[in-house]
């Protein structure tokens, strides 16, 4: 599954960053690398973007970009 499919409050582990080029680089640099743990924090009032928490900080990302992050849920 991909990141934007998570429910609020769920945690996941990054499996792979599917994007290419600039998007991929940005995601990697911000710490979204394979194995990184992500908490799905909330969805913006208008339904997009989403807010996630990883590596001790908060990040906001559009759903269309989050589609490029393949994850697995941790219980």
């Amino acid at each position: 599954m991909t990141l934007e499919q998570l429910k609020i409050g769920q945690r996941c582990k990054v499996k792979k960053v599917l994007a290419q080029g600039m998007l991929k680089r940005k995601l990697l640099e911000m710490g979204i690398t394979p194995g990184a743990e992500i908490l799905f924090r909330k969805v913006a009032p208008l339904g997009d973007p989403i807010q996630i928490s990883l590596r001790g900080y908060e990040l906001s990302i559009r759903k269309v970009d989050a589609k490029n992050i393949s994850v697995e849920i941790i219980d």
Binding site: R25, L28, M30, G31, K42, S60
Partner: protein, 692 residues
């Protein structure tokens, strides 16, 4: 020679605060050649061992990747200009992500020290930080500091001075991993060619950095060897880019994270989560956002009457104050000049031309400063990121971002600060588009035009609807423009929206004051140059005839003749008279002047200064045949709404887009749109009336 130190670090790491604290008031703001990023240079307040130290504040970056102008600037500066030392500022409360950049900077052959900022936030929660752990892992000196409390500043500067004396040969932290052999192989090929920072370049080449490869000008032999080595890595790992980023973070979590001893959730984090529960709440987030925006707008432009007393908000109050001072000085100036028997044209040039023009523009200054103060507070506290988070979806459809909202709202007050406020947008296309559409928000100075003409040509509820429709039309045009530009002009570039949500922090008062002071300086400079010259030119065109004689009757001026030519252009919209054209042209000085011009042309006087005149001028304008019909007057309003804004705003536009081409694109687009839409409305309006 002065020692040069470059400060590099993530956005929100306290870089600007550190820079300001170190340099005091000795900063110079300029631009990096060719790009729209500010460059700040300053001098250390003290001297170290008698030596002067120059500091360069590099743009805030998350990495040195060539994907953003900021990243390219930072790395080009460090690689090409070779500062004596790099001071890497690291946010101790967000250690892991901040150190990603550090691992990259460490690969460059330049001495480095780390300024570990926000250490006081950790201390407040009794979280201890073992600096030695970090120093051992990274091999550079680490100095804990608190930029906003001005702690550790002397220490970091002394450490930087000491470290700058010894050369440093960089070794990548990635060498200890499986990729290490390949890195050292490519690195040694580069070093044989006398290329410095070989580890850094080797890794960037493995990541596929074409820009860097091209800039090296390698001979074919070396190029082949390097590409062979890279291809070998690619055989073993399908995703080298991912692997390298992954290894950097692995290194950080394994070796650096443990520097924080009794790690726990910081109070600041808990506080931020709590505040966000309200401010970005699913239901309350939006109303609170609008409330904050309204308050900001109100504090800048608000003015109301209560129990017969006029209450003015800070922006308006300051504006009235400045206006009064300007008028008084103008009066004195005129009296002085006539006292020394200056000739009429000299008085005209100084009082109306230079002083009038520059003074009118200075009237905007209070709005600009007060608005800047609020925008800076929104940014410094961290709310700006939340505003973008809340509004992004609504604005994205039009090629804008959530951050476009603030400048567009300000546009209803005054385009000048609004256009400047677009600076908060990082994406270049979004910034240009925001700047382009902001003047469509009907500004305060255009309001007198609407009220004047509607009162003359429309009655009762129709008059109110007409004014309302002008405001709505501006918004619709902004939306349509956004869609057009997104579809046809910016189609290539689709930038991802990946934005850090920094913790809420109290703004640093000194930094705020510094921003205001810098704003004031740059504004004064502009008023003294471009606006001064333009004012003189316009005054000349208005006051002289083609035989270079000063005219008493504006009908004989050069401007009137030019207006006569432009009148043909406006004919299809029903206001093809030289008076209307003249009014449009004079509106570029300031939009209120349009109404003043009608007063002057009628020979009655300025209706804005003498209320009694308003009715007479209105009567004159309806009877003089300047507009063939009320519809033509409406089209005149539409043209003024969409046409390029006043001189001050045009100045702000060219200053903010920092590109002659784009300034031209924006102004020409506005001009064409104004023409087409008023033409369309005139045509459709007449058609509808025919049918009715």
């Amino acid at each position: 020679m002065a020692l040069r130190m470059a400060i590099a670090g993530n956005p929100n790491s306290g870089k600007t605060t550190l820079f300001n604290a170190i340099t005091g008031s000795n900063a110079r703001v300029g631009n990096w050649p060719g790009v729209t990023v500010e460059k700040k240079e300053g001098i250390y307040k003290k001297k170290v061992s008698g030596q002067t130290i120059t500091l360069v504040d590099l743009p805030g970056i998350y990495s040195t990747s060539p994907y953003s102008p900021e990243g390219i600037i930072a790395r080009n500066y460090i690689l090409d200009e070779k500062p004596d030392i790099v001071i890497n500022i690291v946010d101790a409360t967000n250690l892991c992500r901040n150190l990603y950049l550090t691992t990259e900077l460490l690969e460059i052959d330049i001495p480095m020290v780390i300024a570990l900022n926000y250490i006081d936030v950790l201390e407040k929660d009794n979280v201890s930080f073992d600096v030695m752990v970090l120093e051992n892992a990274l091999g550079v000196k680490v100095i804990p500091i608190s930029a906003h409390k001005k702690k550790g500043l002397d220490e970091i500067m002394n450490a930087a001075y000491k470290a700058a004396a010894t050369k440093r040969q960089a070794r990548s932290v990635l060498r200890r991993f499986s990729l290490g052999d390949s890195i050292s192989k490519i690195s040694s090929i580069l070093r044989e060619l006398n290329i410095s920072s070989s580890d850094y370049i080797a890794i960037k080449l493995i990541e596929g950095d074409q820009l860097l490869l091209d800039s090296l000008n390698l001979n074919d032999d070396a190029k082949k060897n390097i590409l062979d080595a890279i291809n070998k890595i690619k055989k073993d790992h399908e995703d080298t880019e991912g692997l390298i980023a992954d290894l950097r973070y692995d290194f950080i979590t394994q070796n650096c994270q443990c520097a924080i001893k009794n790690s726990k959730k910081l109070k600041e984090t808990t506080k931020t989560e709590k505040i966000d529960k309200t401010l970005t709440h699913k239901i309350w987030g939006l109303p609170i956002f609008f409330l904050i925006m309204f308050l900001m707008f109100f504090l800048v432009f608000g003015e109301f009457e209560i129990a017969g007393i006029t209450v003015m908000m800070p922006g308006v109050l300051a504006a009235y104050g400045i206006e009064w001072v300007i008028a008084e000085i103008g009066e004195l100036l005129a009296r002085f000049l006539s006292f020394v028997n200056a000739s009429d044209w000299a008085i005209g040039l100084v009082v109306d031309g230079i002083y009038g023009g520059v003074g009118a523009v200075f009237g905007f200054l209070p709005y600009i400063l007060v608005m800047y103060l609020f925008i800076s507070i929104l940014e410094a506290t961290g709310y700006m990121a939340r505003a973008a988070f809340i509004m992004d979806r609504a604005f994205r459809k039009f090629g804008l971002s959530g951050k476009s909202f603030v400048p567009m709202l300000m546009g209803f007050g005054c385009s000048v600060p609004a256009v400047m406020g677009a600076r908060t947008l990082e994406n270049e296309n979004e910034r240009r588009l925001t700047i382009l559409v902001t003047p469509f928000m009907s500004c305060g100075a255009k309001l007198p035009i609407w009220t004047f003409l509607t009162a003359a040509f429309f009655e009762g509820i129709t008059a109110t609807l007409v004014i309302f429709s002008i405001y709505v039309l501006g918004i619709i045009m902004a939306v349509i423009t956004g869609v057009i530009f997104q579809k046809f002009v910016f189609k290539k570039q689709k930038t991802p929206f990946i934005m850090e949500m920094p913790p809420y922090r109290a703004p640093d008062v000194k930094t705020l004051l510094r921003i205001l002071f810098e704003k004031f300086k740059s504004f004064a400079k502009k008023a003294g140059t471009i606006i001064l010259v333009s004012s003189v030119i316009i005054w000349f065109l208005q006051s002289f005839s083609f035989s270079f004689k000063m005219v008493d009757n504006p009908n004989d001026s050069i401007m009137a003749k030019i207006g006569g030519i432009f009148a043909y252009i406006f004919k299809p919209m029903g206001f093809g008279t030289w008076q209307a054209a003249f009014a449009v042209l004079s509106g570029f000085v300031a939009k209120e002047v349009v109404v003043t011009t009608f007063g002057t042309l009628s020979g009655l006087g300025d209706p804005l200064e003498n209320e009694g005149l308003m009715e007479q001028v209105k009567a004159w304008i309806t009877s003089a045949g300047i507009f063939v019909s009320p519809l033509a007057a409406y089209c005149f309003m539409v043209f003024n709404l969409l046409a390029p804004p006043c001189l001050a705003a045009i100045g702000a536009i060219s200053q903010e887009v920092k590109s002659k081409k784009w300034t031209a694109v924006i102004l020409i687009y506005q001009l064409i749109l104004a023409y087409l839409i008023s033409l369309l409305i005139y045509g459709l309006g007449n058609l509808v009336m025919l049918i009715i």
